[in-house]
Subunit: 332 residues, 4 copies
């Protein structure tokens, strides 16, 4: 999350699917494939956007999306965290096969975001904890055991602290170090407070700049960099206006059909279109300093936990020699 560079509010494919579904009155959406599993408190949803029709319906780019949802992830349960890391490893390994990344393809892991702003430090923290091996392949190739691939990892910083677009730094590093594909880790702004620090999305669409101020900016995409870019995103912040807008939704549902006085009032909110309503909320909150990006109080612990999960999951997914059942041992 590099506010100003990338889109600060990214709809997860999952949320987009739900919205499209609702709009489609629950009918299947053409051009969209999906698959859903739930096990041990971990929900995995896979959505493939197959063609332009699906892309338009969802408002998401053509590509493959995996969302891992773990509502209990904020509860500091280290055994659950291990299970999530293992699940992530399995899904990511399979995802690489699905999108055609071979076993020996050289990976460059890019940790986007500002390491000194806790909710934005996910990318830099993953980079710190991930196992890098590229230098062994370069310097002592004969000593590298089988079952490993070349992995490098860089946190390029953010425009405000480097003065250089992250995408330019990444491109420079790609040009010199010649990886075969990129895994870009980024913190996202969430559509909903309950997604914050509980959801991981994987996509092969790369990372696209926001459409706002940064409209002349470059993203991290295959078009831009010449190699596939897999994005791993975790919502870590949410706008106050989003929280308020979500609350309206929840209250409408809660009171839906109730004939009490309160029920009737919230029922009337149905008459306001959702986008219009969010606009309204922003208009009211912004001038008085009420529309900040916020993050849960326990963010220090959450970010560290999720960064460990992602680093462990990536280590196991990228190297056959690292056992999926014991991923945690390979990170700090």
């Amino acid at each position: 999350m590099d506010l100003g560079m990338f889109n600060t509010q990214t709809d997860l494919a999952l949320d987009a699917r739900d919205m499209a579904h609702a709009a489609n009155q629950g009918q299947p959406i053409p051009g969209i494939e999906q698959e859903f599993t739930r096990e041990n408190g971990i929900r995995v949803t896979k959505i493939n956007v197959l063609n332009e029709e699906g892309s338009k319906a969802l408002g998401k780019l053509l590509g493959h999306y995996i969302t891992i949802e773990v509502p209990a992830l904020r509860e500091k349960d280290s055994q659950l965290q291990d299970r999530v890391a293992t699940k992530l490893a399995q899904e990511f390994e399979q995802f690489l096969r699905q999108v055609g990344i071979p076993k020996n393809a050289k990976a460059l892991i890019i940790g986007l975001g500002n390491g000194n702003v806790t909710p934005d430090a996910l990318g830099p923290l993953v980079v710190e904890n991930v196992m890098v091996t590229r230098h062994y392949f370069e310097l002592v190739p004969e000593d590298v055991s089988p079952g490993y691939r070349a992995v490098s990892a860089v946190a390029p910083g953010v425009l405000g602290t480097t003065g250089i677009e992250s995408s330019d730094i990444v491109q420079g590093i790609v040009d010199k170090s010649k990886p075969d594909f990129i895994i870009a880790i980024d913190a996202l702004a969430s559509r909903s407070l309950d997604r914050v620090n509980t959801t991981i999305q994987i996509a092969d669409t790369g990372i696209h700049p926001g459409s706002g101020i940064g409209n002349k900016r470059k993203g991290l995409t295959k078009e831009q960099l010449g190699i596939p870019v897999i994005a791993i995103g975790v919502p870590t912040v949410v706008y106050a206006s989003t929280i308020v807008n979500n609350a309206f939704d929840l209250m409408q549902k809660h009171f839906s059909g109730q004939t009490s006085n309160t029920g009737q009032i919230f029922g009337l909110l149905d008459n306001i279109n959702e986008d219009e309503r969010l606009q309204l909320v922003k208009e009211v909150l912004n001038p008085v300093g009420h529309d900040l990006l916020v993050t849960p109080k326990e963010i220090d612990q959450f970010i560290e936990d999720i960064a460990n999960i992602i680093a462990s999951g990536l280590n196991a997914a990228l190297h056959d020699a690292v056992d999926v059942d014991n991923v945690a041992a390979y990170t700090h």
Copy 2:
């Protein structure tokens, strides 16, 4: 802020005054004295609760309250920060005189909260940055220059990480080190998102445990500890439900008198009592993980800045030899 120990949502005297005022239809409230100044973007409000009548009207304890509001404090302006530190020093020095603390009274600064949870780390950070002198008075009294008083400073940790009530730890330290008064720094849960990291409250009422779960718990008060306890609090977190409830208020005001469809809907909210409405919001948000305590994304920087302001302000206020105009030089 030791969630579970102390009241997690503290009404600032200022907010209580506003509510009482509103309830009193703008008439002066008997038993309450107040004074207000505004200069250079810094608003200072002094409220004295003189008697039981005033206490009841405000819902605040008898005592003296100063609130320093600096809406621009979140904008990373180091000159403004210096001005706030100077203002705090002047006000705190005068406050000590007003509440009868003599110039040579020995101070113990207590930094409440959990140093590993950023929005709760205010107290421990102030303790880290404040100038301590008590050991010189104890070990080499003849070498202490005039213009200093004995100051000690301890961060007692929180129940969840020490296993001991902070109030017990403080009492033990008071018994052994014999200070003449206590200054207790604590992070608070706010009534409003725009107060977060922009407001400092000083009060001579001590720190009182919450009325909820912790009802058997002891606070940090003169009754408990036998010496005056001055509390310095800064709101650093806010409940999601509070954000939503504030938004209702703002929208009601915004649409008040409007005859549009939307205006009429929000007008109807007037019919719901405020407490009832907050209860409603909590009921709806809580079960789906939407009622977290949240903090602005930039909390790392904010907490560091405010801790420096308070440490600098205290240094200048507590020691005549430390110049109010150059407080910053005495902290890290």
Copy 3:
């Protein structure tokens, strides 16, 4: 290690034994019992100082000493670290039995040292990572599972940052929270660079103030606090003069008997008494800023690793319900 408060150079019982042994020309020392095991790169030496004669011979107080030496501990081997934690747990559990601490005795863990000075942060880091349970026993005793004891943990800070003697803070906390015994963790100044971050010493002698400047100061001892005090110490720093003096020793041994020119020169050093020589080294190094306390470059990682080992070991040793084979899961 609170420089100025406690003795900054603590002879480990092990080193004292070696010196006494040497002085005694390899004969058993009366009043001293010892036992030695070595397994998997971990050496454990137990020394009991049984009477005044032994105490005088060793220059150590009456009591029980365990030293765990792991020369490879600096090599960042996480499996070795787990083995050391397990060994520490076993030894500590047995030590508690040996010195008569019952299974349900309430422990207060004291993390001495300054958390902001990395090589001095061992104690505070252990406190941060250890499992505290006392508050459950106090607040919800009926909910505590069998197999746990009441454990509390506090880092009292250092005189220079609190203005209060650590021993006074600890005494105050003991008076209020009534533990049955204390475990005090402290970083030590080492007799030898190769001990730094590779050696853990456990002793039931408490912690004694240095004999230098701090001669009026109180320690953490049973005499002082009225309850047993078990000290866990790890050498984390060493004086430059100690490094130089050790080098002389090593060179003397290296060249011992050699008839080369160099050998003869170093042989002559035998003629200088060891204490006299160290004094000489200090005299020469001090005035030119060459006698600093130093620590290995990788101290950040070392301190974190050893703090985790000690926290894990204590968790398993103190609670029957925590499995010695899986101690790591109970710490962060």
Copy 4:
């Protein structure tokens, strides 16, 4: 300092000059210009290596060297720190003129080293604290006030944590962001414990890889990158063997001419050649873990202080609009 990449023991030009001088029996060295000033506890030595003869005599590359020595820098005196920052700003500004860098030349500041290893974190810390402006020149050139130049800043990490040579990362960034010159900040291994954290060296020679293991590696030099590279280095660590060897020197000097027994012994050390002696020390210390790189115990504070001094000094030197007398205000 990227151990393995760059020369881990860099002779400061100053030390090289002293050695050459000694070898030349105090006579001026041909091909070397020098200038020395001392003021208020700050010594500044400028050495220009004019030609091959001078280069050979000193064992240093052709170029300009400034060494700023502040023996009291370790004493936590914030006023002295401000004076050093101001001095550094003045000297660096003049140095840029001397080596032909124009006022509007675009600077890229490279912070070498590993931010997670405190004594190696100097470069990353300077990058964090320096004022970056390049993005304003790129995005809103019309809004940039006069008196500023375009400055960008990147910490490229170290080979062990990124898997990519720092020099490759830097080259990639140079290719994409087109700066006019580079300022590379690096922590060095010192020739002497008293230099550690007290000395700053500026040179226009770039940064050269060590001659040892890393002999195939690329440095950061004008030859390599096509633009001038100014290096700023601060010794932050020292080998234990260096400490021992320095002690031999000091003792030889101390006892020189003394006819005492001890004096005679140390006098004999004269007979051993210095390089041979260091080799000897290493041979003896290494096998027993006695030849670590060490750093003073207070390194956390030292590194932070020097990073602030360098960041403040660079801000004032690089931008005319930043006042040399008030450099500190522009850094955190």
